[in-house]
Symmetry: C2
Subunit: 208 residues, 2 copies
């Protein structure tokens, strides 16, 4: 009987191998050959899945974005307004090692996107979607009085998105001892990011 | 008579050539050879100034940072508190083509820094300096009643820095028609960033 290959699953294996290689060697060191070795593929066996490193990188970025959105959907289920906005932000912020690694993936993607209109369009589509989600949460929060600032929602959504983007850079370039997990690690960066988020949400409801 | 060469000036010529090449070809296309051609240097004449592309890139980043700080010092001269904070932020935000180009330089630098402790330390030292400057402005603004929020200054400074970092990504990946200057361009991105900044500064003084 012929072996049944789940192509979607193999694509995700390649994405995981790409994460690990980029985290270890940087994006320039992450050659198709290195990624194949890491994923246990024969040299050349990647081509049917990803003809070029560029295609793989775009797929990997979309995967990070989709995974973040799946987490957001899970944690905001049944919530709305300010609690949903808080949970959305907490999922996007790089508060644990998995998400710090995602930040390390997304920065090389942004760098590629600076000179690549197709990739920058992928980034913008993701940000437009999040902008829209934030506007929805803010609208609900204003309805129930949790957000009372006269600052327009559009400016708040833009600030918040830029803040979430900037936090990826801060985390990806933090010294390892500030982002590592485990009993020995104090995780002061994630504590600082949570304090920033709570402070920001506090700014939105000055009248309370 | 021997020609007198101003080595500092030549270094800056090379940095300017590096900007132009990265903006045109991306960081991977910006080889030492391409940079030499762009600056009008003979092949190999770069080596005495910058032995490697890495050294050139670190110098270029520091130059952007120093240039931003020189602009900040000029626009904040004689000011303090909230007006100084506003002008600081307006200088760091990518509000014109020169600064959008600086954002296009700084993203490749961040990408390199993800796997390079020396470069990420340069980034952190710059951010620490700005964090300290923001705390100074906030302290003055609280003294004269311009900032009244109970949110701690440290959280505000962290938020603001992340917002300024994120704005670099937003600008560098914006469609060209949103960041171009000139009579035909509407510059809606810079208008959006200014609206975000003014909105944010408004959040800091809810009692007024």
């Amino acid at each position: 009987m012929p072996k049944i290959v789940d192509h979607d699953e193999r694509r995700l294996e390649l994405v995981d191998a790409t994460w690990r290689i980029i985290a270890r060697l940087g994006i320039e060191g992450a050659t198709m050959r290195e990624i194949a070795i890491e994923a246990g593929f024969a040299n050349g066996a990647l081509k049917p899945y990803f003809p070029t490193k560029d295609v793989l990188l775009a797929f990997a970025f979309n995967h990070v974005f989709n995974r973040t959105n799946a987490r957001v959907a899970a944690v905001t289920a049944g919530k709305s307004g300010l609690p949903a906005l808080r949970d959305f932000c907490r999922e996007v912020l790089p508060l644990d090692e998995e998400r710090v690694n995602e930040a390390r993936i997304v920065i090389p993607f942004w760098q590629k996107a600076v000179n690549d209109e197709e990739k920058s369009a992928i980034h913008r589509a993701s940000m437009d979607q999040w902008h829209h989600m934030i506007l929805g949460y803010l609208g609900q929060a204003r309805m129930n009085g949790d957000v009372t600032t006269p600052v327009p929602d559009d400016a708040i959504a833009g600030q918040l998105l830029n803040m979430l983007l900037g936090a990826q850079i801060t985390a990806a370039l933090a010294p390892p001892e500030l982002t590592a997990e485990g009993p020995a690690a104090g995780q002061p960066l994630s504590a600082a990011l949570v304090a920033q988020l709570e402070g920001y949400l506090g700014l939105l409801s000055p009248a309370r």
